[in-house]
Symmetry: none
Subunit: 249 residues, 2 copies
Amino acid sequence: MPTQTSQPAFVLVRPQMGENIGAAARAMWNFGLDRMRIVAPRDGWPSQKAVAMASGAGRLLDEARLSPDVPDAVADCSYVFATTARQRGLTKPVYSPEAAMKLAAEKIAAGEKVAVMFGPERAGLENEDIAKANAIISVPVNPAYGSLNLGQCVLLTAYEWQRQVAEIDHEVVEMGKADWATGVEIEKLSDHFEDRLMEAGFFYPPEKAPNMKVNLRNLWSRMALTNADVQMLHGIMRQMVRWKKRGEE
Amino acid sequence: MPTQTSQPAFVLVRPQMGENIGAAARAMWNFGLDRMRIVAPRDGWPSQKAVAMASGAGRLLDEARLSPDVPDAVADCSYVFATTARQRGLTKPVYSPEAAMKLAAEKIAAGEKVAVMFGPERAGLENEDIAKANAIISVPVNPAYGSLNLGQCVLLTAYEWQRQVAEIDHEVVEMGKADWATGVEIEKLSDHFEDRLMEAGFFYPPEKAPNMKVNLRNLWSRMALTNADVQMLHGIMRQMVRWKKRGEE
């Protein structure tokens, strides 16, 4: 059974080696985190190598939620961080682990669901994954030598989470009770706009289309949209389509 | 050659596996630390396994100072920390990694020489070693599960050193070749959407129209939009209108 504490989910996106998934579980549990989610692990699931490495934190693997893709993994989350080592040319807030876990703690105290995504060992997260996040976490490593591995990145982030909750244990942050849109709502909004705009011929020329789509998705996920905002944006698109159809009759 | 920055020495006391010495070198150099000292490594020195694991941080191993015992290793230091996982029943100040590295930074800035000792993988430092230290560093791990290894302990301590000496990194936003939109640009965007949506019959029923318009303007102005975002949103609306007009021809 997971612990009852409120905490972010840690999402391992397309992890490659089972050993590293096990090491991530240990790193998390060292700091009291036990909500692991795993997206499309390269070598299948469950993993004997993960279990062997997780010694004592194996429960996290048993209880890990497996997802086929990132949208499924963060569908219930209203705020998603992406950890990256390099600059990616996407317009997004970039936080240190400390600032990010402080923000996460505030959001979770206000009732939001928060996730942190970690990319595959070799290449890290794809821009497509990062576009689905609200903000970036970047560990300020030595510019002459950045070689944090997956387990180390999970460790530092979990450590900062623990530091932040230890500090705000006493002062619980009160925030205005807005109903933030969840990941699945943002995903549906993105799909809706993308589909209609495709129909309308917006993504032109074809060679630029993939990049235009990423930028558009990045726009929606970067904005702190409420339920009401999402409904209004859906309504705008539906109305434009209705208007077009009326013109055709 | 070691870097010219002032920094604490990290002393690995009787480390067992070469791999862990290599991992410690990487962890240190990730955060700009390059003064390693090694006391009586179990498997001899130099170590091929350490070199293989240190990839890119091998210089730290070449330059590491080898000592036969702890007194020799810290002979030139005026303040020594000992990292421990458990309480040892010794009367000594106990610091978190954060507080310890803050203190270390202050002492080093005042011209003192500071060392941090890390014990062997299995058992940690002996009480005899700890007795030679001025203070203890204890990482606040999950009381139900403390399983930090040598490399992880070095990583967290090095990370905290870097945090203490680095400029406090507040939120920075990574700008993907974009500037923030100005007030007048947001105003024009609002006008554009309002005009077209009026034409399209979006603001309905009439008694709700003023409120809907306010909500829409509020949405654009609340979002941190860049120039590029504003252009994309203009483009979306223009394309929907073009699409409608094509339908009419």
